[in-house]
């Protein structure tokens, strides 16, 4: 069993030793987890989907999801063994000793309960001796700590009357209200816009320091962890592969997986080559005998497949579970800027476009031009109208007016008025690969239907073409006979891209197509899109992520409140933004206080 741990310090507030969580049939979800966190410190628990990070997060509260079981290990919080608690004592510990901040505030707050009700209820349950006035004081204090008003008017609001950032602050207030010693934050900012995210993260950092609380911050987002955590633990396939101080881990990661993750993550400042990690993480039941990462690792040797590598210190406070840890800083080769693009003709053009939602206008008088053969990024926060715009271009808009031109001719606003040829040449890829494919049809049926529809081929020819298209998105032709449920998220998104490519389009509209995917998968998809651009495809890439913009786009359009406020070459805009808002977005993406 490979156990990675920090040398346990006498000052540690949270001490997890050799934690194992199994499914009912004995399949391990996480194994051999050891962690320690000192008061006032934030531990970043990093992993991709399926790595077991949320399982560990909730196990810290003595909870596992139905069907799973904690089979071994101890969790000490200020000397209290959480796993030995039950009944009333466990209830008391949850909230008072350990607090949890979940991912989606909108789903967590009871929509029928006022904000004040949420806060008062928690105190009534856990500290019944407090008078109403004392409760009010405590609530006012914690609300000001998280940067919210404690006015009566605010306390009387319902959750839906708050912004996403305010809702998440309420959850923070609820977590800190009982003055817990340990706080577990499970991706609390994933649902928020970058600028809101930056502010919430600032609040979390300062609260933990101020109250000397130990925090475990569970996240898939390396960038947030880099700015928030003091120490970082990297999880892969339910095991810790590396633990180090934040600076060490980001400057010189030693485990091939940590290095792979960092090499796969796009950077807002430099356009480096994104290196996807080959293969995909094993499901809990399919984890290999030896090193879990072995099958995907470039430096694996036969020894790696024989037995799991034990954890060892490569430096003080730096433990790695690998037979071949790397030393030295991580070097990410710069990617070349595409050249010779300056004089491209305009392929798709929008004039005076307006769209509304009910009576509320989303944008009016919008102008946009997509140069042929380039990748234009459309950047904006939620509510900026970026998805509405992208859908309007694809003919999916409702209540859209204005004029569009495509390849010299007029392009009808409504999809059903467009010609077959126009439909074929403009393709749209959806954000969520889990909803974009019909679950009851095989990949082959989905692809051949498109090919037969547009090119009138017979079934044999269509299937041959479908296999060729799958190859272009780097999927084996055996996938033709599979159903979407057999595929991972990244593979599904590849199939969605393949469906678009099967039409041999000229324009590809990509609506946040990597936002539902893990970093290493995102790198592979961006890589794929880059290679497709070599074939002269015009791409509109809608995103909220400026680092992705740097990695993929040639030029960028910044959308705010339905207006394009800034546009230009990617490097010009990101290196020297002219507009205040663009500067703010850049700052937020770096998690500086905005």
């Amino acid at each position: 069993m490979n156990i990675v741990t920090f040398p346990s310090s006498a000052t540690a507030l949270l001490e997890v030793r050799d934690l194992h969580v199994h499914l009912a049939d004995g399949t391990p979800i996480v194994s051999g987890i050891s962690l320690s966190v000192a008061p006032g410190q934030i531990l970043g628990l990093v992993g991709e989907s399926g790595s077991g990070k949320s399982t560990i997060g909730s196990a810290l509260l003595g909870h596992v999801r139905p069907g799973a079981r904690i089979v071994n290990g101890s969790i000490l919080v200020e000397g209290v063994d959480v796993l030995s608690l039950s009944g009333k004592a466990l209830q008391q510990a949850r909230g008072k000793l350990i607090a949890h901040v979940p991912q989606d505030p909108a789903a967590t707050l009871n929509p029928m309960m006022r904000i004040g009700g949420h806060l008062h209820e928690l105190l009534e349950v856990h500290e019944p001796t407090l008078s109403k006035a004392e409760r009010g004081e405590r609530i006012a204090a914690v609300l000001s700590d998280v940067g919210l008003s404690a006015s009566n008017e605010f306390l009387h609001r319902f959750p839906h009357q708050l912004s996403g950032g305010q809702q998440q602050r309420i959850l923070l207030a609820l977590a800190f209200l009982l003055k817990p010693r340990l706080i577990v934050l499970d991706e609390p900012t994933t649902a928020l816009d970058v600028s809101t995210q930056a502010q919430v993260i600032q609040t979390i950092a300062s609260l933990c320091k101020m109250r000397q609380v130990a925090a475990v911050y569970v996240s898939h987002d390396l960038d947030i962890v880099r700015h928030l955590a003091d120490t970082v633990t990297v999880l892969y396939a339910g095991q810790i592969v590396e633990s180090a101080s934040r600076d060490t881990l980001f400057a010189a990661p030693a485990h091939p997986y940590s290095r792979g993750l960092l090499a796969a993550a796009p950077d807002i400042f430099t356009r480096h080559q994104l290196a996807p990690i080959p293969g995909q993480a094993p499901a809990p039941a399919d984890r290999p005998m030896g090193c879990s990462f072995g099958p995907r690792c470039a430096s694996a040797t036969p020894a790696c497949a024989a037995a799991p590598p034990p954890a060892k210190d490569v430096a003080p406070l730096h433990r790695v579970a690998c037979f071949h840890p790397s030393s030295g800083p991580l070097v990410r080769p710069e990617a070349q800027v595409r050249s010779g693009l300056s004089a491209s003709p305009i392929l798709l053009e929008v004039n005076d476009l307006s769209a509304s939602y009910g009576d509320a206008p989303i944008f009016t008088g919008l102008r946009l031009a997509l140069p042929s053969g380039r990748c234009s990024a459309l950047v904006g926060e939620s509510g900026s109208g970026k998805t509405t715009l992208a859908r309007a271009l694809a003919g999916l808009g409702q209540h859209v007016e204005g004029s569009m031109r495509f390849d010299g001719g007029p392009l009808p606003i409504d999809n059903w008025q467009r010609s077959m040829e126009q439909r074929r040449r403009i393709q749209y890829i959806f954000q969520n690969p889990y909803r974009a494919l019909n679950p009851r049809r095989t990949i082959g049926q989905t692809l051949t239907a498109v090919i037969r529809h547009f090119f009138g081929l017979g079934p044999k020819d269509a299937e041959r073409r479908a296999a060729a298209v799958l190859q272009r998105v780097a999927l084996p032709s055996g996938h033709l006979h599979r159903y979407p449920r057999d595929l991972s998220g990244g593979e599904r998104q590849r199939v969605a891209i393949a469906r678009a490519l099967a039409c041999e389009p000229d324009v590809l509209i990509c609506d946040e197509i990597t936002s539902a995917l893990d970093v290493s998968v995102q790198a592979a998809i961006l890589d794929l899109l880059r290679s497709l651009q070599g074939d002269g495809l015009t791409v509109l890439f809608v995103t909220h992520d400026l680092a992705v913009v740097r990695a993929i786009a040639d030029n960028v359009l910044v959308l705010r409140h339905g207006r394009i406020i800034e546009q230009g070459e990617v490097d010009d805009v990101l290196d020297a933004p002219k507009e205040n808002y663009t500067r703010q977005l850049m700052a937020s993406s770096r998690h500086d206080a905005a």
Binding site: A394, L396, R418, R423, F430, A436, N438, P439, H453, C503
Partner: protein, 270 residues
Amino acid sequence: MSGSRQLRTGIAFILAVMLLALAGPALAPHAPDALVGPTYGAPSSGAPLGYDYLGRDVWSRVLAGGQSIIWMSFSASLLALTIGALLGMAAAYARGRVDQVIVWITDVLMAFPDLILVLLVVSMLGREPWLIVLTVSVAFIPAVARLARGVTMGIVQQEYVEAAWMMGYPWHRILLRELLPNLATPLLVQLGIMLTWAIAMLSGLSFLGYGVAPPAADWGLMINENRAGLLVQPWAVLAPVLLIALFAIGTNLAAEGYGRSKARIDEKQG
């Protein structure tokens, strides 16, 4: 009982009753309307279930009397399923005016109690079997249409339907290829439930004298004819009751078992 076991048991019940009803007429020792024994005669070696109120052989009548309820319940349910699913899918897909009209019609139909509606039509227009099938299916259509509409509403918003629409696929292709396969599970469960209702309603109609006309053998009719002698010769009533119950329980079990085992698979796909 696990979902798949319920499904298997249900199907076994249905098949057993269907086999009996289909092969029955060939196996019957007597003609169903032949007077061969004493009125309410007790079971004997020649007549395992005894004789009915006219002295006809109950076993022979049981064997001969199952066909009408089976073909009628199946055709009424399948007809309702087809029409209801198409209406519901069309309503959810087209929205607007079409949706309003379809919902309005189903609302009006739902306001009538099923049995009253069927009795009304049958008593006015006659007790033709095809008419009974048609009316029973009309009574069932609103529930199917409502179900199909509700489920389709959720599916229509899925992006693969939008993608199909964006490609310019014809509407019937979207209905049949993109929507219908995703409706299969709830529709099949509904079919099983409707079969149960149809059996109850058809045997109820026969019992009330609006179904198959005497002297033909029919399970529902047999219950009515022989109820006066229930204490003297219970088998004349119990035999058709048991078979109808077996059939109804079978369809119900199959529907529930199918739904449950399907739900579990869907959960795993998550």
